[in-house]
Amino acid sequence: MKNVFILTIISLVAGLCLSGVYIGTKDQIEISKKAAFNNSLKVVLPFMKDKYEDVPPVKYDMEEVPIYPVVENGVLQGAALQVIGKNGYAGNIKVLVGVDKNQTITGIQILEHKETPGLGTKSADEAWWGQFKGKSLDKFKFKVKKDGGDVDAITAATITSRSVTDAVQKGLVVYREYAGSFNKMGVSHE
């Protein structure tokens, strides 16, 4: 009985301490998380002025693509899309793709991946993804050169390059659809 009592007391004190720390850090954690995501968004959407619309994900080909559109004065300025590159070297690759109103790429960020360090991870360097900047669907073939496209694959990481390229292309296609429905209906928060 005494044992249980002591353990309960210790647990209780520990719990109290933890709730204190939790309350103290809760807001800061939120802020840090937001800041991290905003930093990524700023990289892919250089024209964004600190504000994006909170809209539900777009459905495309059986998957849901989270979209962060930037709207100024009721006009769609562009959007960031969180797309999944399938069949990476070691699983899927989560990519944030920025598109402007001319439907050209403004930047990309690799959010999550399990690729080989030093090889697949090179896809996160601007030195490589910079080649997508300003490219649009009609003037650029989103395929690696080996597959007959215009993209320079990372040496010894063709599979990663291919997966990321697919994701970027998917982002452009989804944006085009979204822009079409936006022009008809405006911002839809539902």
């Binding site: 353990l7 933890l18 840090s32």
Partner: protein
Amino acid sequence: MSNGNTAWSTFADGIWKNSPTLTLLLGMCPMLATSSSVMNALGMGMAATFVLVMSNIFISALRNIIPKQMRIPCFIVVIATFVTIVDLVMAAYSPGLYKSLGIFIPLIVVNCIVLGRAEAFAYKNGIASSMLDGVGMGIGFTVGLFLMSTFREILGNGSFLNLPLFGPSFSPVLIMIMPPGAFMTLGFLIALKSYLDKRQKKGA
């Protein structure tokens, strides 16, 4: 033996002679996983040291209250509390490090070094020496991690603390920052330590 000497040996034991990673071979899981860069290693080392010192102090303070039969659950509760504190604080103020250390911060709870010192030292000794032991062991853990991560980051990524050391023509030995590299480095460090110890013994 004077009292000061004992305190010093309590502290210094963990750093080299009974280094938790290189001699006792405790805490190998976080050691192998988080030593791919010096930054991660230092973060991990400091987090673990904090937990180690705090839990040692508290367990030592409570050692007369905690009944023998219930000591393991009590240790775990104390340790888990401090781990959660580290986890939350790190998530709030150092999100980058928090992201790259990932699951290994919560796993400090089951790090054998922490529980091992609680059982083997803090539960039997006074607060001051328990704290010293915690600091020593924590530094030993951090030193082991630092050595290993330095070796791995320089060879495997060509950098130290994320600062590139060599020109762009350098091809890093990628395997060193992958799991097999961790095992190989640990093996070589252990070998090096026993070699040095042996030589010291011969010299003495």
